[in-house]
Symmetry: D3
Subunit: 269 residues, 6 copies
Amino acid sequence: MKSREGMSERNSAWLWQRIRGEGETLVNGEPLLASFFHSTLLNHSSLENALAFLLANQLGNTDVQPMLLQQVCKETYASEPQIIDAATADSLAHYDRDPACKYFSMPLLYFKGFQAVQAYRVANWLWRQQRRALALFLQSRIADVFDIDIHPAATIGSGLMVDHGTGVVIGATAVLGNNISMLHSVTLGGSGMGAGRRHPRIDDGVLIASGAKLLGPITVGRDAKIAAGSVVLSDVVEFSTVAGVPARLVGAANKSVPSQDMNQCFDDG
Amino acid sequence: MKSREGMSERNSAWLWQRIRGEGETLVNGEPLLASFFHSTLLNHSSLENALAFLLANQLGNTDVQPMLLQQVCKETYASEPQIIDAATADSLAHYDRDPACKYFSMPLLYFKGFQAVQAYRVANWLWRQQRRALALFLQSRIADVFDIDIHPAATIGSGLMVDHGTGVVIGATAVLGNNISMLHSVTLGGSGMGAGRRHPRIDDGVLIASGAKLLGPITVGRDAKIAAGSVVLSDVVEFSTVAGVPARLVGAANKSVPSQDMNQCFDDG
Amino acid sequence: MKSREGMSERNSAWLWQRIRGEGETLVNGEPLLASFFHSTLLNHSSLENALAFLLANQLGNTDVQPMLLQQVCKETYASEPQIIDAATADSLAHYDRDPACKYFSMPLLYFKGFQAVQAYRVANWLWRQQRRALALFLQSRIADVFDIDIHPAATIGSGLMVDHGTGVVIGATAVLGNNISMLHSVTLGGSGMGAGRRHPRIDDGVLIASGAKLLGPITVGRDAKIAAGSVVLSDVVEFSTVAGVPARLVGAANKSVPSQDMNQCFDDG
Amino acid sequence: MKSREGMSERNSAWLWQRIRGEGETLVNGEPLLASFFHSTLLNHSSLENALAFLLANQLGNTDVQPMLLQQVCKETYASEPQIIDAATADSLAHYDRDPACKYFSMPLLYFKGFQAVQAYRVANWLWRQQRRALALFLQSRIADVFDIDIHPAATIGSGLMVDHGTGVVIGATAVLGNNISMLHSVTLGGSGMGAGRRHPRIDDGVLIASGAKLLGPITVGRDAKIAAGSVVLSDVVEFSTVAGVPARLVGAANKSVPSQDMNQCFDDG
Amino acid sequence: MKSREGMSERNSAWLWQRIRGEGETLVNGEPLLASFFHSTLLNHSSLENALAFLLANQLGNTDVQPMLLQQVCKETYASEPQIIDAATADSLAHYDRDPACKYFSMPLLYFKGFQAVQAYRVANWLWRQQRRALALFLQSRIADVFDIDIHPAATIGSGLMVDHGTGVVIGATAVLGNNISMLHSVTLGGSGMGAGRRHPRIDDGVLIASGAKLLGPITVGRDAKIAAGSVVLSDVVEFSTVAGVPARLVGAANKSVPSQDMNQCFDDG
Amino acid sequence: MKSREGMSERNSAWLWQRIRGEGETLVNGEPLLASFFHSTLLNHSSLENALAFLLANQLGNTDVQPMLLQQVCKETYASEPQIIDAATADSLAHYDRDPACKYFSMPLLYFKGFQAVQAYRVANWLWRQQRRALALFLQSRIADVFDIDIHPAATIGSGLMVDHGTGVVIGATAVLGNNISMLHSVTLGGSGMGAGRRHPRIDDGVLIASGAKLLGPITVGRDAKIAAGSVVLSDVVEFSTVAGVPARLVGAANKSVPSQDMNQCFDDG
């Protein structure tokens, strides 16, 4: 059973202490990865430094070298420390909700959904600083490397889990609340050519199962569940479950938080 | 509002002049990307040279170096200049139809859907020159780098927009007309083992929304719309809209061109 | 027509002889790829050596260099030669079932679905040797490079074809039999947080068409067919066809083996 | 004529201000190098940061990545700021003594002699911190990349100019004072197997011309000149000039500082 | 015996025809190098294209990519075709004078002395176009990669052989005539800080043996020979041989051209 | 004091055991190098495997990848195990004769002179197998990477120490005996254009000090010493010491083996 201790004090320093503790065990267990664990985990004094190193290493290329991206990430985190709070919550979201995530360090080390979201958070900060060319460059790199396409103008709260991640698309005017879970191939897409909001708003606690497509400026109320493969074209009321192509209401009054339960299924009545 | 001037004279030289103009602004705006904008845009005298550079840079690896791929691309464009006309139309399709595409240079610089289609156009030329091994190698590189799998034997007209792009699959005997729009995760798949045509034919002006799967040697008539998440197993008449798994007729007599409107939704009646 | 000779003697040595024979033709046909064909095919004395080279080349990076991964692969194959038998069956599955696969060498050289499955087989062996950190590292690399996410703890038989492959997800407790075919964007996903088996069991001969999502600890009986875009939440009886969101029985008593026929369609009655 | 202003205030901040000023001109003059000048010069707030970036970029490889070396350099400079004072003096030594060095930024950007000495200064600090393995690794990288072999245990003062640099060898027990100039192919070599000091001691202001070999625990007095191609096997008195194989006294009582004059010749009487 | 045919018609087209002919034999002889020979030799239609490819491949790095350097080289050759005439003469100089050079293609493929001189010729052209920053960047790359330091402002005639090459230094105001041979570790160095010419002038036909150092604005007359290890501080009359530290006249009235004979020795009387 | 134990049993297995023992200490001492020590030392079961890995890693490039060079090295060692005996003797020569070489593992890990000689031994084997193109390619790579130019046709015995190494040149018809020591910038050069032997023969036990140039088909008798900076144009009798430009006899009847004593000096009488 995974540790739930310290739920009340889980800030980034707390998390980093646990990740480093795992790193100290890992580094002795697999010689081929000793330097990987050292350079990615043990070498850093904080979660933000580790993230800056890892994102730079994954997204740097001959156009923009890793050392330069590392500096951009550090500048982002120094300027807006709440981004590290969000990264902490994202990381713990994976730990708490994904049975395959058995260690605190796994999202950072291995999960492309987590890594892509953290890179988006840097791109979003750049976007808000009017450094839009670099934000778009990063979006393009994220799409190439992780196959996840999040527009840097999108608004995303904390505690987001993107599981597996390949194929996720989140549009420029999408707004996501806190503690949302989504799986691979989820689309929060626009529709049509109009100005103004073109993409969905997703409230807290929502679970969007794999392959679901939510299109247009709709709203999904809190603690709702979107079943796998659904195509959602209209608002979804809070606490309800929708499914199908197009999606229809198949359940109501969810008693628990879908994004925590991670039950992608629905009552196939 | 994006510029619509010069619709009648939008050839590749016209487009290249605008892209370079944007490049001159961009290069001074973001020092980290100065050389990227210079080497990708300002350094070239024409769209074909810029494309050859960019595709080589994205698809080259230790097996075939960028300089060699650049030469292959240049040879392709010199031999069949219509490919650059098609690239011009593809680029403008993104500019005209995608609200997130605010500059003429964005497809070239950032959009993997656009880049993958241009790489396919080179692979298709190689295929027709009987250089099939290199065409298949390129297909494999495109699938690895962009996560888009287009068989080099497929036939594709001009003015194609592939938005986002991750997960798109287009089979060997597919035939696509002009001015088509499709989104990520679209499949134009084969079915069964028979000889002859095994994949769909898509006529002009069709919009295929995200995640739609069109299977077998069916025909989709002009200006039809395939809704998101649909599974299409039979012919679709022109001007109509189909949706669902399997797809059924949900609307008829579209009055405008779906691939221009980019309305992925349908009347959820 | 592709050769079916020697069906009874198609072991890895037999296959390797054919692949090398093709390589000798290819190497003279495309000068740009001469070293690629030499280093990937002609340079090796056996399928296992070629696979070790190719996987190392695709998955190595600055964290773990190709030469080290090559050694891990060789160690795997030496320790468990049945993995090469499975690779042989996988390779022939592509050759036999995919009309676009015209040569024995194509899966090895070009098909990311095949390559990802072979990399999983190495990761799975590492997982069973308790080298879990390296197994998870490989899973992460496979997901980044091929956009295919197979948990190393999953159990997979031989003769698997994963066509195109982008977006496939197979969870940790999934169990796959022999001679299964699946296409891109297929999910064998978990559901919920419980312990024990959380993912599907797929029996021999099943075909899972593109984009189908199978969720939870369900069982799909032998020679069943899952239509494209289906969302399957409950057991599927053997020899039957299911389709839809959620999937319903649409056909029964398949007379041939769906994974061989590769007919993704179903009777759209 | 090069600027001599501010001789009294030439600290690292003063130098960095001038280097950055040059960088601002350079970045607009050569588009191909815009990012090079930006990333190497304009992107940094101090000489130490620029040096850490540059050395990491030059010496990093697949064994130790640039980002890790950058961190080592920063740690070195933070721990012992005098190393930056020495780097400043070395840089100005090139500017003052080399007619081909027309800009303050040239040693940093282009001169392998300067770069190798700065890398030695980091290796030497590591050596003194008992991180001898990393010090030896760096020595080996410096020898591979710059063809200059300086043992990290050597003691070197500030204001050293190593012009051109290829082939320079400085042994472990060599001791160099301040404001020394040497050219390429100079050897400060050991002789024999004994313990204790085995290499030369060079006092302040000495000029060692190209190809000179000084062997064994000899002493070269201040402001002496060693002519090109000399082989020096015994002590050299201060202010004198020696030449030949083996070297003999050819001049005495130098009236100016040889390392400043850079006159490699001697009176060929 | 190496071919001397066609002495009167040995232009770059003639040479390229021979090099390509050798390439066609080589490409079938060593499979590991098949693509190397193809990409370096067979893939090109002229010596200038092959040189541009090779220099770009050797000198490109993360600061300036190979494709960009290739373009710079091509621009150079198009603007000043005499540089290719000089490259042709340099290449034939190796073929004619070096017993280890048994094929016309060897200098291009393997000899760092030849490659460094060709890169200098590009840097020199850039220098004369006032693109001095890029010229200095190239000088620095040549010094790092080939360990040969030629200032781009130096003036060098055609038919230069630099054998082995490591450690050669040629200063900014050096002037070299035609048909000169020099070996590794040769220095044409400056002396002192004065303005004006500071480096040697070397006339046609001179041989400078390994390790010789020529310092200051001296002149070496035509068909003179500088013995190995000499330190030359004063003028050398034509047809004579000098040797020693400092160099003295040891022979006079050379009857043949020393740079052709390649006799590094002298009469040790 | 360095260990001299087991002088009689110092074969490659004995040496490898000591190197690995050192590796086990090193890997825990410097986290940044943990994977370097693991991949270079601990990961291998024998000296030949470690050498093949290391040489491949140093000399591989985009033209010939490391994995292919590794295979060439392994093939060489399997075909002619005496090469590993020679490598063992070379490695121990550094350990025994170089006071800066304090560990058995240092030549393998850090010394470019040792690494270049081992790469030559592979190139020499290829030359003798008539794979001359690959041998010349390797020679060129060694010259680029290590700045040491040894013709693959040269004949070199075992127990060779090349200290520091930059600038060493050894010609095609040179013949070196056993237990020779030489320093950087040593040339064993040819002279003139004649057929037949053009380079020196060096007998057992000779020491050639830094920068010495030996030219033409001369013979240096056993246990002779060539002083630093000498230019040797005629035979040197056994047990004697020569020095100067040109070299003259300066000492006779050496009582010990110069290559062991490593005394570069001579009696400056």
